[in-house]
Symmetry: C2
Subunit: 703 residues, 2 copies
Amino acid sequence: MKVADVSLTSFFAPRSIAFIGASDDARRIGGRPLAYCIRDGFAGPLYPINPSRDRVQGLTAYPSLDALPGPADLAVIAIGAAGVPDAVAAAARQGVRAAVVLSSGFAEVGEDALQAEMIAAARDGGIRVLGPNSLGVFSNEGGVCATFSSLLENGPVAAGKLAIVSQSGAYGAHLAMLMQRRGVGIARFVTTGNEADVTVADCILHMAGDPAVSVIGCYSEGIADGRAFLRAVEAARAAGKPVVMLKVGRSDTGRQAAASHTASLAGDDAVFDAVVRAAGVERVETTQQFVDLLYTLCRRPPVSGNRLGILTVSGGAGVLMADAASAAGFELPFMPQAAQAALKRRIPFGSAVNPVDTTAQAMNDPTLMRDAAAAMLNHGGYDAVVCFFMNWPDSPIIGPGLREALEAALVDHTDRTVAIAMNATEETRRSFDAAGLLVFEDPSHAVAALGASRRLGEALARDAVTQPDLPRPDPLPSGPFDEFEAATLLAEGGVTMAPIVEGETPEAIAAAAQTLSGPIALKIRSRDLPHKSDVGGVRLGLLGEEAIRSEAQRMHQVVSGAAPDATLRGFVASPMAAPGVELLIGGRVDPSFGPIVTVGLGGVFTEIFRDVAIGLAPLTSTEAEALLRSLRGWPLLAGARGRAVADVDAAADAIESLSRFVARHREVIEAVEINPLVVHPKGQGAAGLDAVIMVRTDVPSGN
Amino acid sequence: MKVADVSLTSFFAPRSIAFIGASDDARRIGGRPLAYCIRDGFAGPLYPINPSRDRVQGLTAYPSLDALPGPADLAVIAIGAAGVPDAVAAAARQGVRAAVVLSSGFAEVGEDALQAEMIAAARDGGIRVLGPNSLGVFSNEGGVCATFSSLLENGPVAAGKLAIVSQSGAYGAHLAMLMQRRGVGIARFVTTGNEADVTVADCILHMAGDPAVSVIGCYSEGIADGRAFLRAVEAARAAGKPVVMLKVGRSDTGRQAAASHTASLAGDDAVFDAVVRAAGVERVETTQQFVDLLYTLCRRPPVSGNRLGILTVSGGAGVLMADAASAAGFELPFMPQAAQAALKRRIPFGSAVNPVDTTAQAMNDPTLMRDAAAAMLNHGGYDAVVCFFMNWPDSPIIGPGLREALEAALVDHTDRTVAIAMNATEETRRSFDAAGLLVFEDPSHAVAALGASRRLGEALARDAVTQPDLPRPDPLPSGPFDEFEAATLLAEGGVTMAPIVEGETPEAIAAAAQTLSGPIALKIRSRDLPHKSDVGGVRLGLLGEEAIRSEAQRMHQVVSGAAPDATLRGFVASPMAAPGVELLIGGRVDPSFGPIVTVGLGGVFTEIFRDVAIGLAPLTSTEAEALLRSLRGWPLLAGARGRAVADVDAAADAIESLSRFVARHREVIEAVEINPLVVHPKGQGAAGLDAVIMVRTDVPSGN
């Protein structure tokens, strides 16, 4: 449906811009974009459109688009919602290739029909739309200011290599302003609003190929097309551009808040979290983390390893940072012996190991911290060094020497990062920052940002992980399915299920069960009884044809009495399972990411400890094994506490087959669950004992 | 050993101060305290002591303490470490009651003997010592500046009701400076350094009774006497003074860093965390959290309930704050219908529910946010309201009206708190702050601080929990103990253990086992075989005297062959356990908090999921049940997934008895573990199946 193959270049680098609803008042929403474009020196023609004025903000105004003296690449629309569909259609007729719709009053307030009308006009005319309900787009190169954001209201924005891509207009602008305040220049700023056409994913994909952009910061409340989002972030990753994501709506409360104010369709946050992190995106929880990390990435290359050095003037801060380093996955290797010995002579009351603690003694000897810092960079072999300097950088005696020494040491180590936590004036902070040193206030935040930078560095360095294509959709026979049908369908789909036989009568099931070896489990067969044991519909450990027959007869009576409304379809029988580790493996269709699989140890591990791993379907058995290994309970499969090592290969094969089943039948399936999948000791396989397939009720199924 | 009954008044309110090692140079460590006292107008006599000068910093100097014209309450010692013991002794002789030892070079660099000598002199003379290696003490009332901290170097510190109590000098000063920068006045500042005498706990106890102090912020790396610390924080709690704690050394790495630079003895951080939180202390992880929360507590009373209102000009920020509110345990009740309807008329494109989202529309109508804020306070019934206003408070059109409206609304709601996240100038921030509104930068941090304030409010409101006194220490018979002895000792101590019999020979154990009913478990008896099953020393489900005898004979041969060095002491037998939920309950003696108990579900729940609760021993069965209820796995005891409800009363009784056992024998025991304690269905009791008692090897035991 989307015209996704048309590039977004006309938004970010238009040759000319028309302003529909241009106001002469530069403070109004309709006046701001034009005023900003004039101020920032947009190089091409600017066409204010206003039927009631000859001139707007000093430029010739035009009564309508068809009166323009030349073509307009981009239209900025700031008129009442009701007029927008016509304006979009008119723009398309005049050859406009892209429209920014600043107007509100569409799906976000329930006016879905008006939004649909507008987007239909855009598609008919082959024009891309940003919005509606967008704060617009800003491209620093060339002064493209198709936005009324207050980001631009205090003068031109400093240039840089950061792109801010935000669904929310106001919060996106807030984030961009915080980056500005942190001294980080901005190349691109775009807010997608209702995403009737252009999405956050589209913008990230654009940034992946935009040479002006090196780092991408993204805010979103919900991703409608998760797979498109993953393709976009993979393009960014492959282009060496880290993506930092503030995705809100983590909690139920948050998702309710999101639903009440936007038209965005949020999938399950746990699914988002798992697959987006697996794709190499760094997801942050707070605004502070977002700003700290983008600042770090825009200033230095990603931290290249997990060896962290700590330099401090306070032992207490050293311990605090060591705690933070541990949480961030850093190691704190000691300084080499010779370097330690040399330093220790200088700081008899301090520590020269790591953390290196100069103590307050450094106050009396300004060369001390300088030399310690240089020693750590030159001899410590640390990938990053984090320092705590209190308010000393403000000291005219200590500050400048320290800054110069660190700057000089960094010259020989362009791949290293030095971060400094300090409580200092803005001027001092800027001077350290200008020397290539990262400046933070909170030492824990500094360490956390370095840790996140390292994770992103690892993600950028790894080989591409291309998503497997989704198979051609395949319908299923008409549901709903009882247990026997579900097990049979899954077995046909390649999942190893325990043998199962069925029989309509006690005699039939008793006879059928003779094909199974050993004692069997007998169950009533019905689509209407999800909890069969509650109504006496399960009996374990039966041996011999007569025992099975008589028990089946009795079971039918008991269940008929306990559940008179259920339609009983006979019986099923399976051999009793040999012991093993029980997994719960399932699949479902996420509204954002489509078919997914979830794996966990069954029972309380899943229900209470929420120890579940999630992956996109279909996946390979190698990927399935990686999911199993990511479980906290993995040691149970790996042979913890004297247990046998489980047949992980067989479990992974079952998960792979399940994932293909879910992917193939994604248009009819709501959820599939195999509980338990019993994983026997290594070499002895794995088998699903019980299965449920739930089909969607909103689509017709059947062959 | 400690002279803990002597008050600390002479540190915080001395009538006169002597400065031993007073320097005429006000920038040096020996000169700063005197200079600060002069500047801040200390009301009593100041006595610089310097044998080589007549005058120091304009005051008459004295060659030694015995030359003083009057008594000195407090001595500030800033001389080389070697001279400190004599100086302390001399001070004591002259009637000085308290000494601040700023000098370093004691236990923190391995000079334990010198520190011991100094502290012996202090005890002999009945004088309290702060330090050594302390940055000193500052009492704002009366200008007591017995410190060289740079906290004081930019002029007098603004008065307030906050006390900062810090083990670390430098980090304590950093924290105090951050509070200052946040506009929070400071009443007391004290750093305890090596804590040779006065500890962080002593200082908190002092603050509990100090009328100038209402809020206490504490930094520590390790608490040597955990029980004294708990008594101090309970005194503060009972006095209505919240305690916020930044305790570092959470991680192994952090504890190593702490050990390498201080003389502090850190107990297990998990124990600290559990018992200190249970005592109503709010433990924070980062400096930012510390500052945010103390700021909140110094400005407003603790948040009185969990009803949070959210007001935002950005829907995105609303979702973000809703996530943070969920994490902080807040509820977001809707606005009442009438108030919603009135608001919704004003903001057709926004939301009037909760979050209330005025959208950018508020930019065009300055009265809108003002009225929305007032409506939330007057009609919403929220205990706290958190707002996101972007950079709008800086706007001369919007800012002042908004501030005044919120200030006016708060007049009628002195028990409510309004926090505002904004990106604004220092001047704007201060003006909102001065109006009684809390000002933050990061909206997530604002919500987190409100949540912590609420938890502290709950802690302050609850009844006192007095620690049970430790019983009189009781020795044990000589260890080590084998399984039979351990089970017998615990059973004598009141813990319900499964029946166990012993026998030296196969015949004896076979005969003894006839007193047990049903099949039995047979084990080899030895102190040398902790893992008996590994050497063939366990056999389950034996029935009948002859079967037991012959199996015991075989077992003796097998074990003798597998573990030829182990001394075999015969056999033990127990009945096979009826099914139930297995707990692991244990006790040990924490270096800081003394006897403690830990409870968890056994096996992987404890080992992999670390689902363990910790309490001080001895505890009551009610407290034991509370520990069980705090486990994530509690549903397993409460009857989850169709299980029987377990006999929690019996389990709690067993834990109580174990806790008394550990407390009574704390001087000889290192650890006790009952694994498993099988908890049978309700009414059927609980019994320990296996027990280990480890005794200390460094103390003699025995009757």
